[in-house]
Symmetry: C2
Subunit: 344 residues, 2 copies
């Protein structure tokens, strides 16, 4: 397997990006291709013991920044590490692309300029994997599309199911729709229309779930429109951040609590490990002609290593091929239901 890693992606690039690739190369036998500024990459590689590791450098003259506008990078930076890396996947020179860079730019480069959509895919979906204890819940779309149509959400469900099944090894994944209540009457118009489509697809569709179900692992795949999915993920992250800050501040405010906090630090570490987004590392952009894993900009080396693990799982599970086949099967159904629900 050959995986391209964007060395110029993360906020602290290329430090964690290269270090994460080294960790992955030590663990697995894949060829890892670091794409970016060769001098900077080489300098980072020299800080590690890379003897015997299957690491290559692929030069890229340009770097996409977090501040770059996704709509402009296609034309302004055609020699970026994202363009070059994704084109290698497109041309069959690599099996997957991993980046912790600008999410919007990665989606634009993948969808519009390099890999492009799988035939039949109306819109790609950005996913995230929420860890619930030892379980993984895939939430999608979390922001590839600001406004969604019900039939796109039907496709998100199919793609999410395929990822859960073939990459994460979940048998007969439970697919649910994110709503403001479990009852069938709940939801906005888009949820109602999407529900009508999901009911008719060959899915283990279990109905509506609320945010509390999402973090308690009631479903394996949770479908939302990109705006709601994005707000949900950001809400989950926001509370976790504020709560940990509050606990830290309050524990320092009196001596006895400080001692207590020190004694309980193993418990806190276990809690933190369970909610650490870097344990997953990255999540796939589904619906494009190649495996693309997008990690958080704040990724550390462990997160990059884990994002590479997600890429391996997706390549092994032949996600792209399964989505191609799966959508052909579902496409007619989606169009039929769409036609009926529109009163046609």
């Amino acid at each position: 397997m050959r995986i391209v890693i964007d060395a110029m992606g993360s906020d602290e690039c290329p430090v964690p990006d290269v270090a994460g690739a080294v960790l992955a190369a030590q663990e697995w036998n894949d060829a890892l291709l670091l794409v970016g500024d060769p001098q900077q990459i080489r300098r980072q590689l020299e800080r590690h013991n890379t003897r015997g590791l299957n690491l290559e450098i692929v030069p890229a003259a340009q770097q996409i920044l977090m501040t770059d506008k996704p709509g402009q990078v296609g034309q302004s930076k055609p020699q970026s590490s994202m363009h070059i890396g994704m084109n290698m996947v497109k041309d069959g020179l690599a099996d997957a692309f991993v980046t912790a860079g600008n999410t919007g730019a990665a989606m634009a480069v993948a969808t519009l300029f390099t890999l492009r959509r799988i035939q039949g895919v109306r819109r790609p979906a950005l996913s995230t994997i929420i860890r619930v204890g030892s379980q993984n819940v895939i939430l999608l779309d979390i922001g590839a599309n600001a406004d969604s149509k019900p039939e796109w959400m039907g496709q998100f469900a199919v793609m999410g199911k395929i990822y859960a099944q073939h990459a994460l090894g979940i048998q007969n994944p439970r697919v649910a729709l994110l709503s403001n209540g479990e009852e069938e009457g709940k939801g906005n118009q888009l949820v109602h229309d999407a529900q009508a489509i999901l009911r008719h697809l060959d899915l283990n569709f279990t109905g509506n779930v609320e945010p509390k179900d999402l973090v308690r692992g009631i479903a394996d795949v949770v479908v939302a429109d990109g705006f709601v999915g994005n707000i949900t993920v950001k809400s989950l992250e926001a509370v976790a951040g504020v709560l940990f800050d509050l606990i830290r501040a309050e524990i320092k405010r009196d001596v006895i609590s400080t001692v207590g906090g020190l004694l309980a630090r193993r418990a806190f570490r276990r809690v933190y490990k369970q909610v650490d987004p870097f344990e997953v590392g990255g999540a796939p952009l589904l619906g494009v002609n190649g495996v693309v894993i997008i990690g958080h900009g704040r990724s550390n080396a462990k997160a990059i290593r884990n994002a590479i693990r997600q890429a391996r799982l997706a390549v092994r599970g032949q996600i792209v091929e399964h989505i191609q086949a799966g959508l052909r099967q579902h496409l007619d159904t989606i169009q039929d239901v769409e036609y009926q629900t529109r009163g046609g």
Copy 2:
């Protein structure tokens, strides 16, 4: 001041509902009217020392349950404590109504059967008050409407601003729009259209905020459509619940951490007090012809007492009168902008 308290509201009613009213009566000099089953209310009152307190009982023959469908209670239970209590407000026999009962039913009874909308209000909005340290952030709509129109959201902004200013005493409240990013280009179509309206209103509109800003107090009033607002609140609650559960479980898993947890319990109590939704107690349904405060079904006595405090603030701040006046002023602007954004 005369405040009606729904004695048959909370999950454990009438126990916390009556106990909370007793707490409020001890603290403030208002007349508190407990509406519900007189026998059950009397039995609860006997458990407290009520000598000299200004507490009355108002009989209601029917009780709305959490399982009742909001659309049906208007006809099936016209003698409910909600109907009778809100009609007292409507008829000028009381100044406010407080309930910890079925939220959907309370909205339906208020909007369709008793108080009805303030003239000019397109849709009422359910709000919630998120505590950020010592600061209060009003988020609305959190579910009065599953699908919203941009011009309704303009009204939500005006009503939220008036509540912040007159009930919570916030000078020149900062009003923001909940979105998936702070940049102007972010958001779905509804957010874009609402933004165009908010920009033209006489508000201290500060632009888009993300969920993380919501819990960090960047704005005083945050406007969302009811579906997104509801999902956001539920996401915030869900993570807090899961995290506290996780911490509790992990602290118990080894002896040293257990000891540490015991020592740090004062710190935890301080954290909990800062995020405890019962500290606010309830939030107003804005846009109806009377003060209605809706609390959580799981309310305890303290939450009911604090919901009564919210009712006092709203009555003192003459919220209903200010919304009537404020909307007259804003209504023309909203219609003008609406007309322009529709390309008229």
